[in-house]
């Protein structure tokens, strides 16, 4: 598209120099985000491979160790993350429709729900660490937590390699937790920009990009929850 002479003033504020139009800019950034998400899938794919190898060879370990995790807290966090994903998707909708109050509310809600997720995770981690439910060779579960297991589980011998199960648990949920933390930072950034009125129907790329990232974080938890807490 040719720019009329003296068209510099009409150039949209958030159109980067190297793009011809807002459409081209949005299309490029969205494609870039999807490429990044593809790399994230492969990144977590390596960890799911480690999980698969250990589970295939030591399923008794997984059936036993699962009882150290509270499925109710895992389910609660699943509901929290799904709600935050809904809120993130809604924030994109608000930006596209130019609803500024709705945008601010949903961005803040997404941030808050991410915080709730991490608070629940903090209680889970601290309870485990307190009872010696740790990774690798440092695993030494307290008598108290062993007594709290269901009777049918207590009757079983403690399998070998308990620490390996929890290495996988801490590595995978921890990496996921770091992603949640990064997401919270991104939502603070979006909130600050939304308060300045940066986003609207003509410019909502960053809201969309962060929401896409956030949905992937939700998606990974959708797999982590049943794999560690349920089966």
């Amino acid at each position: 598209m040719t720019t009329p002479s003296g068209g510099e003033a009409a150039r949209p504020r958030f159109l980067a120099e190297h793009f011809e139009s807002m459409e081209a800019q949005l299309e490029t950034s969205t494609t870039g985000i999807w490429l990044f998400l593809a790399s994230e899938v492969l990144f977590f794919g390596a960890l799911f491979t480690a999980y698969g190898v250990w589970r295939a060879n030591h399923h008794e370990l997984f059936h036993y160790a699962q009882h150290f995790l509270d499925w109710r807290l895992g389910a609660l966090n699943t509901l929290v993350l799904i709600s935050s994903s809904l809120s993130a998707a809604w924030s994109v909708r608000c930006a596209q429709l130019g609803r500024r109050r709705g945008l601010l509310a949903t961005l803040a809600l997404t941030f808050a729900l991410a915080g709730v997720f991490l608070v629940v995770k903090y209680f889970e981690y601290s309870h485990k660490l307190h009872h010696g439910v740790t990774w690798g060779a440092s695993f030494h579960a307290s008598e108290e937590i062993l007594r709290s297991l269901p009777a049918a589980v207590r009757a079983l011998p403690v399998p070998e390699h308990m620490g390996t199960f929890f290495t996988l648990y801490y590595l995978m949920t921890g990496l996921h937790g770091i992603h949640v933390l990064v997401g919270m930072g991104l939502y603070v950034w979006l909130l600050r920009r939304a308060r300045r009125g940066h986003f609207g129907p003509g410019y909502y790329g960053p809201v969309d990009a962060v929401a896409l990232y956030w949905h992937l974080v939700d998606m990974i938890w959708i797999f982590l929850f049943p794999l560690f807490y349920l089966v």
Partner: protein
């Protein structure tokens, strides 16, 4: 069409926001499927428990991708990028697990001969 009748560069056509009922419906389906995966895990199906959990998780992830991430409404190129990454991740997990289970009997036999505990 002359330049002054088309929108200036940057003034994108009004974006297509997803209808509220699509977003709410997706979230409702995800809540129901979460309840289903918990309920099914309480029933002992043996190895099928893991299969059922993974199948439900795959459906949930697809719903998130199609609607929340509006993959259904975007150009096919993004779907190709994402599907390819998922496909390769599944190939990685699948082939490595096939491989390790292939060699397990040999490893166990060798460990038993050596009198060592199972690795």
């Amino acid at each position: 069409m002359t330049d002054h009748t088309v929108p200036a560069p940057g003034h994108a056509a009004a974006p297509h926001a997803l209808p509220a009922r699509v977003l709410l419906g997706t979230a409702a389906a995800l809540f129901v499927l979460t309840a289903a995966t918990v309920a099914i895990s309480r029933v002992n199906l043996g190895a099928l428990n893991a299969v059922a959990a993974l199948a439900i998780a795959a459906v949930k992830a697809s719903l998130v991708a199609l609607f929340f991430m509006h993959l259904k409404y975007q150009g096919r190129f993004k779907a190709v990028i994402f599907t390819a990454s998922v496909l390769f991740a599944v190939l990685l997990v699948g082939f490595v697990v096939f491989d390790t289970t292939q060699y397990q009997p040999d490893i166990r036999a060798a460990a038993a001969r050596a009198g060592a505990p199972r690795p």
